[in-house]
Symmetry: C2
Amino acid sequence: MSLRHAILTALLERPSSGLELTRRFDKSIGFFWSATHQQIYRELGKLERAGLIHPLPQQQPSRGQRKEYEVLPGGREELARWVGERQDPKPIREALLLRLRAAAVVGVAGATGLEAELRRHLALHQRQLSEYQEIEKRDFGSEQPAAEDRLRHLVLGAGIGLETFWTEWLTDALTELGGSSPG
Amino acid sequence: MSLRHAILTALLERPSSGLELTRRFDKSIGFFWSATHQQIYRELGKLERAGLIHPLPQQQPSRGQRKEYEVLPGGREELARWVGERQDPKPIREALLLRLRAAAVVGVAGATGLEAELRRHLALHQRQLSEYQEIEKRDFGSEQPAAEDRLRHLVLGAGIGLETFWTEWLTDALTELGGSSPG
DNA sequence: ACTAACATGTAACACGTTACATGATTGT
DNA sequence: ACAATCATGTAACGTGTTACATGTTAGT
């Protein structure tokens, strides 16, 4: 049940409407927890009914009208509780690896398409890596960062590390596949 | 819709019953696409109704009776089609990163629990890494591997690379958090 | 009046998780 | 007879995905 906590985190960082949240989930928070606008509206409704957030009083709630939410004390407590919770890491779930394994059993004959796919993924991961590196340059130049900034930098570092891993691995994979493929 | 293809791949590697599949999804295939037995039985039912797999004829299908499945030509075709499909990589979805970001907004005061959690994750990733390395030593010693084995080795290499990344990153994170935390 | 962009929402379905139910086989 | 284990399955619910519906605001 992490979407709920992703939303609470985002709203604590800055009160927002559903659409604003959706856009913030296309970057920053969304870099490691993505969500569509439908998920977000559904979860905002639940959070409101649970008394963890409430809409800012200024705007009357009607369809098509912007509705900005704020976290209530109960929401902050819930988030703090969740941060301290014990949770095992989820196993890897990566369709590309599954597809390589499937290619091994159905035969590598049609693997020209697969090779193109690997190149395409390589380009996407390289682009994501650049984006993270730009954010790092822009937001984390400080010499004496506050504790919160050190945490955020750490999280960004994970993104950079993971994208670096994928670009290296995909490069290796392309060498393997292209380099010595038998006839 | 990858579970379907994970199951087809597993059944092509070796015809199995639902419970056997469940066990194989706790290792090998499951290392990068996990599934519970309920998911597997549900999907086996769908695959059978879709005519992509069928139970081996020997055993009459009654509850509590072992039921072994085999992939039909249509299933193999479907898998081959899927292997060549274009699919974008999914963004990272890692609750631990979300929790660090949440810790940044609710305050790092209760971060002693978080630090223990990071250590716990470190140990888990180290164990997983050793497991992969043992598999590599056992299964991929050959000098002239077949194309299928090169692919499978590549996939295992991704697992090793990812676990290596996490152990290094978690070690860094613990240094960051423990090393210079302000009073 | 029309259009585009903004903003919130419904509906339907696929996938994932947890708890539980039922029957078959094996060992004591 | 009983318990443990193997094996398949149902039910309920939460989460994620896709397509579509509805209303508002601003520009022309």
